[in-house]
Amino acid sequence: MPIGVDEWVAQHTDRRDAGTGWRRVMYTLEARVSWWPRLLIVFVVGLLFAQLNLNSNIEQVAINSLIYAILALGLNIAVGWAGLLDLGYVAFFGTGAYGYAVLSSGNIHWSAIATIPVVFLGTALFGAVIGLVSLRVSGDYLAIVTLFVGQAFMEVVNNVAPGTLGGVNGLFGLDPINAFGASISTPKGYYYFALIVLAVLMGLLHLLDESRTGRAWRAVREDELAAKAMTIPTSAVKIMAISFGAAVGALAGTIFAAQQSNVFPTNFTANILILIYACLVLGGAGSLGGAVLGGIVVTVGEQMVSSPTDAGYLFYGLILLALVAKVRPWKVLGAVLAATAVGGVALHAIVHAISPSATGGSPGSAGWIGHLVSHWVIVPTNATTYGNILYIALIVAVFAVVRVRESLRPFVLVPTLYIAACCWESRLIVNPSITAQILIGAILIGVMTARPQGLLGTLRVEVV
């Protein structure tokens, strides 16, 4: 580590206080307002949101956001605070969901008042067993073992005891969450339930973070040897981190299973694990607010991509955001945008004059974006092959943008933006489910390279 980096981080407070304008206001607010009013504000906003007249699709997305937020909070305990790379986390989510499913269907049908605590404690115990493993192996080896715990979970629910666990076909027709004769039957009910769970959890986790245990976790994360030297019982602390995280993940699983009223092995694949990690790292590992924000952003983003209109907002919005954040000075940014717009319209006109069929297709975007771009992007009548070629060109172009010299960058940027738009309108938007995955991948890489600490995380120096 070059000399000076630590000092730079150490001066964070000084630089912050010396800031001006909105940055300073934000920092002051952050320093003055204590944690519980902030939590209360978030909770009230959540309640107010449910008062809007929402269609059931939006309700579903809202519930999923909360579930992912809870999942990210649980993952944050092991990964963000204790620094244990737990790649089997999705197994805890699955254990919670399957636990709920088994206990509230078939011929058992327990009340949720019994099911949820049993599942919660049971998964905490399971987590503790996995935590014991973390004592045997550390670092990357822990990641490897837990990754395979996740895969083994999938294999178990797929193949073992199909009578109880349903095998590949899953379990369905689960009871809703019920207690004392009442049950939650509407999506809105689940929204409130998940919101309350989330708020209570955030409060408790905040207290935990500031307790001795929380400090011990961070000590283990920063330097296990030093922590041990300071008489912190590192073994117990690590087991606790994984076990607590597991219990929180299981809680999310119970809500998920009850609300979906079905569980399937495919609900707990490695892809879901990646999504949960995306929530956490996007929001910022180690930060409670970040985990929740990440959960909301990832779920809403994923949903937006599957609707052509919203996907357009997301795609063009992200590009603009990236440009505003990265291209300086403003003059260059303006020139790049103007050149892309004018150049595109001109190119469209020229191509149209040469061969009308080359511009015969209509852009995939609906609504006003579709109208706006229809004389700008080139979409031929049969766009699949054309779109595929553009897609490869786009990858090459993005690569070029990253690699070329600073001074040449604006010139490469203009065709890249145009290719991106043409490819989006002719190909990507046609396959929303695939495009969503590509975008998630791109966002993960982009966020990690541009801001490894995530949206709300704080930069920390790793001791090497």
Binding site: I144, Q151, G441, M448, T449, E462
Partner: protein, 305 residues
């Protein structure tokens, strides 16, 4: 008896593929301490490159060149293509994060894996594509002793894999590049101070590792015909298991691990139930990790304070 031998042959066929993929995992881990989760997808891309080479030369029923030449060209083009892809992935997704927290490159690796798999889905569709190997390499070529059949594709896989592994060991042990690799693996900063161009060594490592995965992809297409965008994940996972069981970072470990996993799978499918093969393999992994956390051939990691 012949059943037993045939099962071993089946297991070796898959095992050599796992071993070749595992070598890439292990080499990258050796020099960068990075778990390159995108490696399985590089293997998948290699299989697709091989497929398009067959189509380019007229398709399985109307080949314009002799079959041995075709197979050689498939190996070479696929190795070059995936090698370049591997270097590009490293340059683009891992190098900017050389000094970031450990979790960051892991996340970008997952991102790259997402992009590769879904790009193939987007460009070539979700259909499985078939090499139709039996239409240009007959099952009757090869060795047949009694009821034991080793066809020429399997023989090719065995020979090419062994040659590549031998070549790799020679490269690592005997050449300057190999020496630099070992230097970077044991201490990157010290190697840099001694004037080794660390970035270049890492690029070469990615090239070689990915090229071997590409060759494995072509072999998988030749031996098993069906390729699709999703074959990378499970094969990657199995190869990764192999690398870890053998001791991640160890080259002989990855080879032995790959063959071991392949044979275990074949025996599990033959004599227990193919339902439980994955569970058995992952069980072996977790057991090995608990008994010997650094794998069979791995050296215990020195913790620097």
């Amino acid at each position: 008896m012949h059943e037993l031998i045939q099962t071993i042959v089946n297991g070796l066929t898959t095992g050599f593929l796992y071993a070749l993929i595992a070598l890439g995992y292990t080499m990258v881990y050796g020099v960068l301490q990075l778990l390159n989760f995108a490696h399985g997808d590089v293997y998948m891309i290699g299989a697709y490159i091989g497929y398009f080479v067959i189509q380019w030369f007229g398709g399985p029923t109307a080949l314009s060149i002799p079959v041995p030449l075709l197979v050689a060209i498939m190996f070479v083009i696929s190795a070059l293509g995936t090698g370049v892809l591997g270097v590009a992935i490293e340059r683009f997704a891992y190098r900017p994060l050389r000094n970031a927290p450990r979790i960051a490159p892991l996340i970008t690796a997952l991102g790259v894996s997402f992009i590769l798999e879904n790009s193939v889905l987007l460009l070539f569709g979700g259909f499985t594509k078939s090499y139709n190997t039996n239409e240009f390499i007959s099952f009757n070529t090869g060795i047949h002793i009694g009821a034991i059949d080793i066809d020429s594709v399997q023989i090719t896989i065995f020979i090419v894999s062994i040659l590549m592994m031998y070549g790799l060991i020679q490269l690592v042990d005997r050449t300057t590049l190999g020496k630099s690799m070992r230097a970077v693996a044991s201490d990157r900063e010290a190697a840099e101070m001694l004037g080794i161009n660390v970035d270049r060594v890492i690029s070469y490592t990615f090239f070689i590792g990915s090229a071997m995965a590409g060759v494995a992809g072509v072999m998988s297409g030749l031996a098993f015909n069906q390729i699709s965008a999703t074959i990378g994940f499970l094969a990657g996972l199995k190869a990764f298991t192999a690398a870890v069981v053998g001791g991640i970072g160890s080259i002989p470990g990855a080879m032995i691990g790959g063959l071991f996993i392949g044979i275990c799978e074949a025996f599990a499918a033959s004599y227990i139930s193919s339902k439980y093969t994955d569970l058995i393999v992952f069980g072996i992994l977790i057991a090995v990790m608990l008994v010997r956390p650094t794998g069979i051939f791995g050296r215990p990691a020195l913790q620097k304070v």
